[in-house]
């Protein structure tokens, strides 16, 4: 037993758990249904298994081999991206794909087929995974790669931990000649300006990302800050910063702290503080660029004990009118918050069978949990996303209906063949049983 929670802070639950200390463990002797658990950075219920056990993989945190010439790293599934950066950056290598937090594990990154600011160029992490070992509940150990057990390789990438437990994985890193990035910032007013900036940057910039004000109305509607960046050509390698976590949110904020006015004020301040950098080219260490929130421990507590919903979707690039309508609905709901991130995804296809990322426009935002009101707004957004042929990200989800999931992921039946018969999750039960 232990306390396990997801990042969206739906209350930490008592959850039965096993904690293998070594990767030679076997699942056969463990009773009940199973689900691997990494660092709990999934926002919703895809990392919990309240009716069974989680396999807490955080003790499986050892490196196995690092080829410093070829940039090939093999490590156990519970190794965090933070630990990897400490090893690889001084050797002149970087993660091929990284999400906005380095506190994810390798196993979790594969299970959610994570993407990053370079999706338009490099696709998802699944494209850079060379192979991994999958432990099945019948005692089998499957070596999975595009050549060996290719169907399990494909089902496990983005497979939400349901196909078995990854014990170790090997990935191809990318070379860097500097630990800094050169970042150019510009301001946009309206989505059309964003699309222009994004399209113009895709060719020459490895990383693009935009912050969007999803509260501002009227003339300020859809204003935001666009950033494009490349690893610096010079500037030297400085060791990855050990997270000393100087800042922490010690308690849950009270409900009233987060309201329409405080969010509006924050967003306006943020917009103008960033606007000062517009048109400039700044060189910064990779840490604050890739992981701006990792410096604040437990930042999710600003949403109070009721937590929050994160909603992340992609609509095809041709559906710009729907994107506009989606944003208008979000703004008029008044539930939007500080963190809204906009990015155009590219066409590099992931090997993952159930992967979320695909070409189109992706928006991720936090919505304060105001109970049924928030849920109703999200259901309405789902209707629009579905109509546009879009898709919603399971790793961030706590509420999508079974019908919505099946519409987004029609391949789920084909995927189901590769689920380990003894594996399940709260998410999976919800979307496959529910209407």
């Amino acid at each position: 037993m232990g306390k396990y929670r997801s990042w969206g802070y739906s209350p930490a639950q008592d959850q039965a758990a096993v904690r293998p200390g070594w990767r030679d463990f076997s699942l056969e002797s463990i009773e009940g249904s199973l689900l691997p658990y990494g660092n709990g950075r999934s926002y919703g219920d895809s990392c919990l298994n309240s009716a069974g056990r989680v396999i807490d993989c955080r003790q499986l945190n050892r490196f196995i081999a690092f080829d410093r010439e070829q940039g090939i790293l093999r490590c156990e599934a519970g190794v965090s991206f933070e630990a990897i950066l400490e090893v690889i950056v001084p050797a002149g290598w970087f993660l091929p794909v990284t999400p906005g937090t380095k506190f994810v594990t390798v196993g979790g990154a594969i299970a959610n087929d994570i993407h990053g600011k370079n999706h338009h160029r490099d696709g998802t992490i699944g494209r850079h995974v060379r192979n991994f070992e999958l432990l099945r509940s019948d005692g089998q150990k499957l070596l999975c790669s595009p050549e060996s057990n290719p169907e399990f390789f494909s089902a496990t990438i983005g497979g939400l931990g349901l196909t078995g437990c990854i014990s170790w994985a090997e990935m191809q890193l990318i070379p860097i000649s500097s630990s800094t990035v050169d970042v150019e910032t510009s301001v946009f007013h309206g989505l059309d300006e964003f699309y222009e900036l994004s399209a113009a940057a895709h060719e020459d910039y490895q990383y693009t990302i935009a912050w969007l004000d999803c509260v501002a109305e009227g003339d300020r509607f859809a204003r935001g800050i666009f950033m494009k960046a490349n690893h610096s050509a010079g500037g030297g390698i400085h060791p990855a910063k050990k997270s000393s976590l100087p800042l922490s949110v010690p308690i849950n904020f009270p409900k009233w702290a987060l309201n329409k006015y405080s969010v509006k004020a924050f967003n306006t301040c943020y917009f103008y503080s960033q606007k000062r950098h517009a048109g400039t080219n700044t060189r910064q260490q990779f840490d604050p660029f890739f992981y701006p929130l990792d410096g604040i421990e437990n930042w999710n507590r600003i949403y109070g004990k009721d937590g929050f919903f994160q909603y992340q979707f992609i609509v095809p690039g041709s559906e710009k009118l729907v994107m506009d309508e989606l944003l208008r609905q979000i703004v008029s709901s008044g539930l939007g918050s500080f963190l809204a991130v906009l990015k155009e995804f590219g066409a590099k296809k992931s090997p993952g069978m159930l992967s979320f990322p695909r070409p189109g426009i992706c928006l991720a935002l936090d919505l304060a949990n105001r109970g049924t009101r928030t849920l109703r707004v999200l259901d309405e957004l789902d209707q629009l996303v579905m109509k546009a042929g879009g898709i919603v990200y399971p790793a961030k989800d706590n509420r999508m209906s079974g019908g919505a999931f099946r519409a987004y992921y029609p391949q789920y039946e084909a995927f189901s063949r590769y689920i380990d018969p003894r594996f399940s999750s709260d998410f999976w039960k919800r979307v496959t049983n529910g209407t």
Binding site: G2, R19, G21, W22, D24, R62, A65, F66, V87
Partner: protein
């Protein structure tokens, strides 16, 4: 004393959770490590991990430390493999089922053999070498359970209590040779060894926290370390309860 980079470190019982965390601290400080343990594959896992993390020279040596007859050869091999050892750590130990021990002398003997006799044997062999060369540290992981016998775990407690007494005497004997002996008394540690316990309160420390406390205290050449710190006060009270009261308690 300041920690000097490039020390030679020997770790007995290297696959224990706290030993793993401690080895990472030493590897990060640029020290050479020799890991001794029973499971060859797990030792190799640690050698690989520490090698990738630090690029340091890490060796391993497979040995069943409960097999005391093998100790002289083992200590010789260690000395051949590493000639400048500055710290020896002793992490091996077992946490038995008390009720099983109450029914079985064989089980009780196993605990005394692994937790006390095997360490006393290794220390006897090693102490005779280190007393000729000063500045060495011997760091031995005991337990708060050795501070007073309690019905819930007195077999384990006895093995640790005997060890504590042995270490007091050894420290006294080696002090004049400049050799440091440190008794580590951890409280509850959240590890696979304690997986059967429910861990819902602040009393449970992580292996990383305990390892970091040990690492710092060893560099400061402390005689004794309670970790986390509050156990010093808890055990002070427990040691000083009068026996007529203590024997009635359900501890």
């Amino acid at each position: 004393m300041e920690h000097k980079s490039g020390e030679g470190i020997v770790v007995f019982g290297a696959t224990s959770a706290v030993a793993q965390a401690l080895a990472r601290l030493h590897a990060a400080a640029g020290d050479s490590l020799l890991l001794v343990g029973r499971n060859e594959q797990r030792l190799q896992d640690l050698v690989n991990d520490l090698g990738v993390r630090s690029g340091q020279d890490v060796q391993s040596l497979q040995a069943d430390l409960a097999h005391i007859d093998g100790h002289p050869d083992l200590v010789n091999t260690i000395n051949e493999r590493m000639d400048n050892v500055s710290k020896y750590y002793f992490f091996h130990g077992i946490l038995p089922d008390q009720q099983h021990c109450e029914r079985s002398w064989a089980a009780t003997f196993d605990v005394l053999n692994t937790n006390f006799l095997s360490i006393a044997s290794l220390l006897t062999l090693i102490a005779n070498r280190v007393s000729e060369e000063s500045n060495r540290s011997l760091v031995i992981v005991s337990s708060v359970a050795g501070d007073r016998g309690r019905q819930s775990n007195y077999v384990y407690g006895t093995s640790k209590g005997a060890l504590n007494t042995f270490l007091e005497g050894l420290r006294n004997r080696l002090h004049k040779h400049g050799c440091h002996v440190m008794t580590v008394k951890p409280g509850f540690i959240d590890t696979p060894m304690t997986a059967a316990f429910s861990k819902q309160n602040f009393m449970w420390a992580t292996p990383e926290k305990v390892a970091s406390d040990i690492y710092k205290a060893a560099n400061k050449r402390k005689d004794q370390l309670y970790t986390p710190w509050f156990w010093r006060y808890i055990m002070f009270v427990i040691r000083h309860l009068p026996e007529p009261i203590f024997k009635r308690l359900d501890l």
